[in-house]
Symmetry: C3
């Protein structure tokens, strides 16, 4: 697979209660991200909030998924912020490698 002309960065996805989504966006901003994508119409269960071992459909609540991509030197600040925000909440954060073109778009 050719990754020629692409730059590796870090993708951070946060799934939280919809009411907390604006706080995640605010946190993204303070961590210096240049953009984000928000997916609404998201529902789910857990991870963490529900450890009963059974997933009930009526436990579903309106969630938001917020996605951003940052260069290496911004990852630590961003992750620290998200961790603090999620500290006492049941949201989850997924961190993964991603390759982008136009890396200057993701750099402040």
């Amino acid at each position: 697979m050719s990754r020629e002309g692409l730059t590796r960065m870090t993708k951070v996805e946060v799934v939280v209660d919809g009411t907390i989504a604006p706080q995640v966006v605010d946190l993204f901003t303070h961590a210096g991200v240049t953009g984000y994508t928000a997916v609404s119409n998201v529902s789910g269960l857990g991870h963490g909030g529900y450890h009963e071992g059974r997933l009930l459909f009526n436990d579903q609540s309106a969630l938001g998924m917020l996605i951003t991509v940052v260069p290496d030197d911004q990852v630590d600040a961003l992750l620290a912020g998200v961790r603090t925000l999620l500290g006492e909440r049941s949201g989850v954060m997924f961190v993964s490698d991603v390759y982008v073109s136009r890396p200057e778009y993701f750099t402040t």
Copy 2:
């Protein structure tokens, strides 16, 4: 990029006809996942169901995307289950590396 304090796990994304989404959730449950995220308002074509080489907008149908994250020792059971479910259907499964904080949230 710092992955300090993060734990590698496996992200499994399944895109299926919306009518089958509850079966995927049920399968997740039996495989021992502690949570999942469901994205509605998803449409698409293929992969596999349509090999005409042309993608027609009126072929779109209501799909569901189900996302879960599991530790290594649960991956095989989960993938086997999804494969069996998708056996004669046109849904797709995407498997990728992901890093999470709070790994205990993803472990039963």
Copy 3:
């Protein structure tokens, strides 16, 4: 983590203004993809279009996220097409590794 029986391919996610989404799908088709997933109800800011350093909620616009998976020999053509399409637009493209079962579903 067992990746036995899975095949590595490349996942390409494109987030663009909703009005451009059909052009992305058309581009996918011409690059020979066998399927795609479209997520609607997506909003966001940047990356690239907005470099003011502040993210305002009223800057959100209706976006579309298009996801496809291709084998190695189709990656270059697909990426070239997306880059050209995004050339003067603020959309973003995320490229990542993904593992799939049934690789024949992703091959024309």
